[in-house]
Amino acid sequence: MIPRPSIRPLAITGAAVALTIAGTTAIPSAQGNAPYVIGAVLSESGEGANFGQPSADAIRRLVEYTNSHGGVKGHKIELKLQDDGGNTQQARAAFSQLADDKNVVGIIGSSASPASLAIAPVADEKKIVDLTLASSPRLSNPPRPYVFQFPVPTALRAKALFDEMKRRKVAKIAVFVSIDDYGQVSQKILEDGAKAAGIAIADTERFNPAAPNVDSEITRAKGAGVDAFIVFSQDPGSALVAKAMVNQGVTTPAYADSPAVNEGFLRAAGASSSRWIIVTTNIDVADLVPKNDPSYKPIHTLMGLYPAKGPKPNHFSGTGADAYGVLIAALAKAGPDRVKIRDTIETMKGFAGTTGTYNFSPQVHQGVGAEGLKLVSGAVVTGRGLTWKLVR
């Protein structure tokens, strides 16, 4: 068992401010006012459950938190959360249903890109904000009037890794991407990124992250004689690659996208995790975030909502929390008017979230940049076993 870094349960005082920014005046008694209804369409089961479940969990905890702290301007928050099962049709139907409910002021979702791409046109048509947690660049480039995007773009995460490769004089790499929308979009982004960084791709492996192992893919990539591997895959793709590398005695350094940051990966990779460099956001390395970082407070407020023992929030929880925070902040400022909420989000600047600081504008609907990104590596620390170490 890998000992978890202990996270001191923080006093939750003043946390409402951190999550809903200044402007929210909490009135102690919220009983008299009709609740503000917010919608969410997330993949709590099915293909996107790995993303959807942590986000949904975080949003539920935050709604409870907001309500126990007086709600928004004296109105309790009511959450209507629908599971789309990772299915695009279901996501679209659930979104339309929520949008047709006149009480719903804005909708968070969906978790994965295919479902979010199915939702986006409906949001514009029905004129209700959609705060998407998926990272496909097609969701906000060009910006759609009612769609706002929360994860750090894949291209920026890839760039952070390529920059590190350049510092380490990597010239030739093998690319591992999963055979799903995220993997396929990433493949193109990695090809462009490598080209821009002057790094040659000698081998590309498109693999199924649900496969029992990827030993043969590693056997082949090993033959290509590369300086590094790079993995952009859904869970547990990176863990599969790490295991296969250990099995075949491959000591080539490896780089990976954020899904790799979890305990399962550390266990699968063991001591070899020190050869991995993974790009992630602050929340996954919460105890390495300095107190003066804008994301410190939102991260630790969110963490305080989870039991001391048991699963902790991860970057998917964080993205969900940020979307919720932005929606609540807009609601506090604009009131329950769909169009005013949209306009408020579009001009929102300096919202401190768990992932970084969000700035929106009419041209930019993808609110957060690379400043909240961290590069981490596995490390064996005496007394704590395997844990994460900050690389940059």
Partner: protein, 295 residues
């Protein structure tokens, strides 16, 4: 050549796990005539419990026992809803009920373990290096385990009275019942045996792969393909089918492309299944054509 041997080794352990799933399919199918599509989910559930116990430092024997007990509970649950609630004689309905059971087991695993995947506690596996070929010692152990489980099963079926009763039920339920064989209990026993192999398979899979709540679907399909390759009747042939499939997938990943692994596996399966029919068809058609020409 070196890579070829390496690919063979790579496919060994997973092939062994497919074999155990395939054996489960065959035992249940022969006795109660139901394709239990939840067989892979039994194994996936056992894998999760095994890994959870290993990570809680419960020790290997307790973890294996936990895996077997989990598979047993899940398997008897499938038996109850597929055979008892659906009628044993309506095979299509029973098949659909096993499909529902598969979803229920996956849902239960999602509730119990969440979306986090589990692996063995961090430790270096014993790697045997021969020239340029790397062999994970655990892969060899898993292969040996499958062979031992298979020999045990064959001995049980062919050398014990209970085994004979099971085979009799499989061959002719009516005649078996006339000979006072409790055929209902034989059905339950078949599910229990399927659970035992799934439990052992779960521990083996946990040792070489990654446990997750939804791993069952892939495993069920692969195990079913292996069972069909073996003709759906003989546990030993199903086991061979499993190894062939595991190694074939490793070769496809190695020589062609990883993403072709699943589709090509099924193309191969279709070819194997169609070959006898095509051959028979050709044989039958020729004389007819000759007759037509003569007329």
């Amino acid at each position: 050549m070196e890579s070829f041997v390496q690919y063979l080794v790579n496919g060994l352990a997973v092939g062994g796990v497919y074999s155990l799933i395939a054996i489960g399919y065959v035992v249940v199918f022969r006795v109660v005539r139901i394709v239990n599509i939840a067989q892979g989910d039994l194994l996936a559930a056992a894998t999760l419990v095994f890994l959870w116990l290993m990570n809680a430092q419960a020790g290997l024997p307790a973890a294996i026992a936990g895996a077997v007990i989990t598979a047993l509970i899940a398997s008897l649950f499938v038996e109850r809803i597929a055979v008892t609630a659906g009628t044993a004689y309506d095979e299509l309905r029973a098949f659909l009920l096993t499909l529902a059971a598969s979803q229920l087991i996956q849902g239960a695993m999602l509730l119990l373990f969440g979306t986090q995947y589990l692996t063995m506690p961090a430790s270096s596996p014993p790697i045997i290096v021969v020239g340029n070929i790397h062999v994970n010692g655990i892969y060899l152990l898993v292969t040996a385990l499958v062979i031992v489980a298979l020999i045990g099963l064959v001995l049980f079926l062919e050398r014990t009275p209970v085994g004979w009763a099971m085979l009799a039920t499989a061959d002719d339920p009516l005649a078996a019942r006339l000979c006072a064989v409790p055929i209902r209990r034989m059905g339950i026993l078949a599910f229990a045996i399927a659970a035992l192999v799934a439990g052992i398979g779960g521990a083996a899979y946990g040792a070489v792969a990654i446990g997750s709540w939804n791993a069952g679907t892939t495993l069920s399909t692969a195990g079913f393909a292996a069972a069909v390759l073996g003709g759906m009747t003989s546990p030993s042939r199903a086991a061979i089918g499993g190894f062939i499939l595991g190694i074939l997938q490793a070769l496809v990943s190695g020589y062609m492309a990883s993403y072709l692994q699943d589709p090509l596996t099924f193309v191969f399966l279709v070819v194997v299944l169609l070959l006898p029919a095509v051959a028979r068809g050709l044989r039958r058609r020729r004389p007819r054509r000759a007759a037509a020409v003569a007329a």
